[in-house]
Amino acid sequence: MRVNALAVFTVLYLLVLYAPIVLLPMFAFNAGTVIAFPLQGFTLEWFAALLNTPALHEATLNSLIIAISTAVFSTILGLFAARAATRYGFPGKGGIVGFIMLPLVLPEVIVAISLLIVLMQLGLTSGTWSIIAGHTLICTPFAIAILQGSFSNMDKSLEEAAIDLGETPWSTFRLITLPLVSPGIIASLLICFTISLDEFIIAFFLSGNEPTLPVYLWGQLRFPARLPVVMALGTILVLLSVALLIVAETFRRRGLKRVGLKDTGGFL
């Protein structure tokens, strides 16, 4: 059989992409403290160590609070902005939408430093809420991009039909718009949650003495002895991400099926 160059490239590409991630669980269960082959033997010690690290628990809790808040705020803001951008014409629309989408391409370092300066000028202390604000700023464009897709797939007359049949604009939004864009809302929540959870730069600048998980991990890297514990944590995070993605994708497909739409992309 002739060797297909494209197939070889694909296999190599996937190998390079995923080999480091496969190393993660390998060393997480490795009995040695040094991250090197050969493996020393099986242990659950590092996972047990995770349970006995209160600082880690705090960082995880911080991260979850920030990620969930960011996901909710960005998606709500995104919902309004996406609806406005797809349903209404108003003066300066292009410029306004452009400015909202700008953080997508703005270097995060710049955003982080600017936010820090603004907070200091206002005399506010940095911490969880300032990180949520920063993350919402960078996540909202993603939410808008996802939800704009949902809105432009939706026939504008559906909302008009509901109003025509006696509903108010608000009850129309609740009964018609929201259910029909719900796959987009779930996708947006998931993406924003994920972006916020592993965001480092803004969190690093603004976290003060309440580190998020990535900031905590980064701090641990200074202690080689803690490395296997980091590996164990990494393993758990990878598994959680995959599980989250599967759940979100299931919801998205179910939503599409319910309204009889054809699948046009998605994550899996």
Binding site: D155, S157, L158, E160, A161, A162, I163, D164, L165, G166, E167, T168, I176, P179, L180, R258, V259, G260, L261
Partner: protein, 368 residues
Amino acid sequence: MSQTSTRTPIVTLTGVQKYYGDYHALRGITANIGQGEFFSLLGPSGCGKTTLLRAIAGFEDISEGQILLDGKDMEGVAPNRRPTNMVFQSYAIFPHMSVAENVGFGLRKSSMSVAEKRTAVGQALEMVGLGKFGARAAHALSGGQRQRVALARALILKPKVLLLDEPLSALDKKMREVMQVELIKLQREVGITFILVTHDQEEALVMSDRIAVMFEGEIAQLDDPETLYRRPKSRRVAEFIGMMNFLPARVLGEAGGRVGVEVQGLGPAELEPAQCPSGAVAGAAEIGVRPESLTLLYDGQTAEGGREASGTVREVVYYGDMTYYDILLDGTPAPVRVSMRNMPGRRVLEFGARARLAWDPRAMVLFG
């Protein structure tokens, strides 16, 4: 002529103007639409017919003028508070609901009991011939079924006026013809005023009691289908509705209430004033005549009063039931279109053959 309806007006439009920035979409629309009337707004795309329909529904504000629905001024009245319901061009069936939920949607805020609502939904579905479809998911319907669900959903609230925005344009030809007849029947049954927007002149002629032909935001002519077809007021209306031949002519003068014209290729004719919608001024003019008003003469046949013309067949289009000919009359620059029903004893003429035509001055319209 039936410019004004004898029915009680249910919709009164007075000097309705609509601007979109610099664009003048509606230019002084004035019309009365009667109770129980099947009224059509007919025109090419961009003529303002959909804007006018949406203004009646309340989805567009008007810049000037007045819209009365059942005697009440609709200024500032939101669409959900107007006694109108609409069938949208896309049908706008809620895809996440069942057929019954769609049809019953408008009853959500009514004071009916659950059982009464169920009965009302059942009756509405029965009315459009979808009695057994209540439990079906809305997205699992064909085009014609969606159309019926949209109708049942809009009619369940018993509106004073039902607005239909190109409701048949998404259907194939066969289905469209079926639905045209069903819509007429349904309208007669429920007795509700229907206002239909369409760009299809045939659809408008088939279904309407009266038709408003619109061009560039204005009503060019408002009449019943027959008047509109037989006595178009302008060449533009004549061209938009059906097919019409235009022959150069000379107005000779008026005598005894009748207008004498000399039609190129045909000969002299006398017209009633009703056949001259824009008046008759001596000099150059045009005569409009429909293809079916010109008749081919076969061997031995003669025309009444010697109103006969001859020419050469330049095109033959055979449709089965009908044949269309383009015939270049002797002494004229352009051919006229003649349509003949194919009946026993009428052979189809061939390209290049000589042909004789009979014509009738009663079927002519003079355009200045």
